[in-house]
């Protein structure tokens, strides 16, 4: 890239010219960094834009599952924030709350993998069957969680 070659050129000059060139190099350096930041942000924006447009194309049921995963993870984060404030006294309660969120998120991700029509591995698996597995596993998970909650 242009900025890199220019950087090399600046380094190549002898030292007794450095004083004169210091001012010149610092100025140019800041200009270079600004240019870098601008390009990175432009790239990020481009990335986000492309992601959003691609995401809009996903089917609704997958979006529901993604939303569910987001909701579970969010709940977990709030619990972690709580424990960071008050300390982990009923540790088993903390663990069970956290693991229920994480566990259900993981099961939802599995469901998403199985239901996604673009996934060739699970072409023969009917999505209702996957959903039934999801419900069953969730029920078992929550039984264990309730037991551990105390």
């Amino acid at each position: 890239m242009r900025s890199a070659s220019e950087h090399d050129k600046v380094e190549g000059f002898p030292v007794h010219f450095a004083l004169n060139l210091v001012l010149v190099s610092s100025e140019s350096r800041s200009k270079v960094l600004l240019a870098m930041a601008r390009s990175t942000s432009k790239d990020a924006q481009a990335l986000l834009h492309s992601f959003r447009s691609a995401y809009a194309a996903t089917p609704t049921n997958l979006k529901i599952i993604d939303l569910y995963v987001g909701f579970a993870v969010f709940t977990a984060l709030i619990q972690i924030a709580y424990i960071a404030i008050v300390g982990s006294f009923p540790f088993n309660a903390f663990l069970s709350g956290l693991l229920s969120c994480i566990g259900t998120a993981v099961l939802a991700v599995c469901l998403r993998i199985q239901v996604n029509r673009e996934n060739k591995e699970f072409k023969d698996l009917p999505p209702e069957r996957a959903f039934a597995d999801f419900v069953l596993c969730n029920l078992v998970l929550h039984l264990v969680i309730m037991n551990f909650l105390g």
């Binding site: 609704t60 909701f71 008050v86």
Partner: protein, 692 residues
């Protein structure tokens, strides 16, 4: 030769005095009060007729007046037993025994009936107990009612049948079928045979009586002996059914023997010593603890009191400790076993020697004077040769009348242990501190051990401490007490005890501190001096603090032994300890309630966000089945899931795992079924959509 003979005689004398000295007291007031305590009637009666008889007989012998209302209650029981036809011979026997004491009014007809029953038992009887109870009952009836004919026709035959049960060693069997023999049974048999003799209508064959006398002599061969001179009978085989200890066995034999002896005109060759020994056995028991033993003791003594073989005379001393200072007199009583007066006799004091020593007697044989008012033999003044100490006095009873010698037995020489006490003079008591090498006296002080003196001395480790005194008995001889101790006690309560030795009258101890430095643990300081002089016969034993000595001992080297630790106050070690208050684990710090509630709200936020997000996406229920049956299943499916969630909430709130699992099982099965139907319906509809 003469020396050998003398030695042999001494040996024989020693063996004859081998019996331990002991004192037997005849029956006294303490027995009467004990009897009243033991035989206490409950609800006006003593219990069974046997117990009533034992109580009444004991009271009769001891001369205690019985309460009148006991008489009426017992009489009623007696007449009931005698009148009833279901009473056994044993019941009749004891009823008649009680009747002989109480003299209740019984109909002659009843006596007649009983007599005929008893005679039938006598004629048919084959066991010793049958014979014993029936014959004794008939003898009792004979005494109580003279009109009834109780005499036995075939006395010889009955005598022989009882005799047939005897063994060769003088013991008896209970029945011909039982081979075990017992001494107790022998006693019963003798009593039964005596009863036969008294009830015989014609004289019994003399040869039978002579064989019986031989049996008695053989029985007495199996008599056993204690060291103090008492004789007794005991069973060899222990019968588990009814064990008779030495007391009941011996009393049975004595009852039988005295009953038999009272009826025979000739003499039974039994040594008086054995009878005296039997009396000593009963007297040696003291006061028994239960009523049966008490009755056996008193009844046997009453039989011995007036038996026809020889009546034992007991020599006893009311006081076995004589004080020389009080000028006590030696008093001796001679009584029969029940405490009645003896025939005219003289008591001679044959010997007196120090117990445990092999010296000869310190006194010569002398007679004791007799005080007829108190019926006691007195020696006014103890001989001068009797000093303080523990003696054995040997007495001999000499009967005045030669006829009495055949009736009574005195037992030859009786040994009695005696203590003679007196005041032992302690004088010339001195304590001194001596210089070790020269032996010269640095400090010398006199101590008055009778009064209160307290000397204070000081010494260092190069010096010696000397304590000396003299002990003299009232008779002026030297005396060695049991305990002569000198105790030095340090301020830190470390004690050292020394025994004071003697040479003759002079007691002296020299403590050489140079040699004792290590024993004293190098502890310098003030030592309290305490002197103990004590003995059982010393009336003025002393335990006195004499004073104190300041000891200067050198410093303890490194390896010196440490003094023993102070004894711990037992109350501090074994007393109650400080109370432990349980410190509970400090409860964890909990966050403030508001914070927790705030976060609860925050946790529910994502759920709300989820729903909002769902709406934003454009969720719809278009795929919900519209037909009735699948719709029901679908609704049930959702309801089932909701029910399971509710179940989990209940589980968290109050249920336990078992009830939850049970309900979950049912709900789960239902949910499976319903879910399967719903989802398969959905799958089929989507498959149809795909294909079309």
């Amino acid at each position: 030769m003469a020396r050998n003979l003398v030695g042999f005689l001494v040996l024989v004398l020693a063996i004859s005095i081998c019996e331990a000295a002991s004192i037997f007291q005849p029956i006294s007031e303490s027995h009467r009060s004990a009897a009243l305590e033991l035989f206490t009637p409950t609800d006006g009666s003593f219990g069974s007729l046997e117990e009533t008889y034992e109580a009444l007989r004991t009271f009769g012998i001891l001369g205690i007046q019985k309460k009148p209302h006991i008489g009426t209650g017992s009489c009623q029981s007696v007449s009931e037993t005698l009148g009833s036809s279901s009473s056994t011979t044993k019941d009749l026997f004891f009823a008649l025994k009680v009747n002989s004491i109480l003299e209740c009014k019984i109909d002659e007809a009843i006596f007649q009936e009983i007599t005929s029953r008893l005679k039938a038992v006598v004629n048919d009887g084959n066991s010793l107990l049958d014979f014993y109870y029936s014959i004794s009952s008939l003898a009792l009836i004979k005494d109580q009612n003279s009109k009834v004919d109780v005499l036995l026709g075939d006395a010889d035959g009955i005598f022989r049948s009882i005799k047939a049960l005897s063994q060769s060693d003088g013991r008896w069997r209970y029945s011909s079928s039982n081979p075990e023999s017992s001494t107790y049974a022998a006693g019963l048999a003798l009593e039964a045979l005596a009863g036969v003799m008294s009830l015989a209508s014609s004289e019994i064959d003399h040869s039978l009586i002579d064989t019986l006398k031989n049996d008695i002599v053989k029985l007495f061969d199996s008599i056993e002996k204690y060291d103090d001179g008492s004789f007794y009978f005991d069973e060899k085989l222990v019968d588990a059914r009814e064990h008779h200890g030495p007391l009941s066995t011996t009393s049975a034999v004595i009852r039988g023997l005295t009953a038999f002896a009272s009826l025979t005109s000739g003499t039974i060759t039994l040594s008086g010593n054995k009878i005296l020994g039997l009396a000593k056995f009963f007297l040696g028991i003291g006061i028994p603890g239960n009523s049966k033993d008490f009755f056996n003791q008193i009844d046997s003594l009453a039989c011995l009191e007036s038996n026809r073989i020889s009546v034992p005379l007991i020599l006893s001393l009311p006081a076995t400790v004589l004080s020389l200072t009080k000028k006590d007199q030696l008093k001796v009583k001679v009584n029969t076993v029940l405490g009645s007066s003896a025939p005219p006799l003289t008591v001679k004091l044959m010997q007196a020697f120090i117990s445990g020593s092999k010296d000869s007697s310190v006194i010569e044989s002398q007679e004791l004077g007799f005080d007829p008012e108190n019926a006691v033999h007195i020696l006014d003044v103890l001989p001068k040769s009797v000093d303080v100490g523990n003696y054995i006095f040997v007495f001999e009873i000499v009967l005045h009348d030669s006829v009495d010698k055949k009736i009574y037995t005195t037992g030859g020489q009786t040994q009695v242990p005696l203590f003679v006490t007196g005041v032992v003079k302690i004088d010339n008591a001195e304590i001194a501190v001596l210089d070790s090498d020269l032996g010269s006296i640095e400090t010398q002080k006199k101590i008055d051990l009778a009064g209160e003196t307290s000397v204070s001395l000081s010494a260092n480790h190069l010096q010696k401490l000397r304590l000396s005194f003299q002990l003299t008995t009232p008779r002026g001889k030297f005396f060695k007490p049991h305990q002569v101790f000198l105790k030095l006690r340090h301020e830190t309560e470390v004690e050292h005890i020394f025994v004071v030795g003697n040479s003759g009258k002079q007691f002296e101890i020299i403590l050489d501190f140079l040699g004792l430095v290590e024993k004293f643990f190098y502890l310098s300081g003030r030592y309290d001096i305490q002197l103990t002089v004590g003995d059982a016969v010393m009336e003025n034993s002393i335990l006195r603090a004499v004073g104190h000595v300041e000891l200067d001992l050198p410093e303890a080297p490194e390896k010196a032994p440490r003094p023993p630790a102070r004894p711990v106050d037992p109350y501090s070690r074994y007393g109650p300890k400080a109370e432990i208050t349980h410190i509970f684990r400090a409860p964890e710090k909990r966050p403030p309630k508001e914070l927790s509630l705030a976060f609860l709200g925050l946790t529910l936020l994502p759920f709300v966000g989820f729903f909002i997000g769902l709406l934003r996406i454009g969720v719809n229920l278009k795929n919900f089945p519209t037909l009735a049956v699948p719709a029901t299943f679908a609704i049930l499916f959702h309801l089932g899931i909701a029910a399971v969630i509710l179940l989990y909430v209940l589980f968290w709130l109050k249920w336990d795992l078992f009830t939850t699992l049970k309900t979950l099982g049912f709900l789960g099965a239902f949910l499976m079924f319903v879910g399967h139907r719903t989802l398969s319906h959905l799958a089929s509809t989507s498959a149809k959509l795909k294909s079309t």
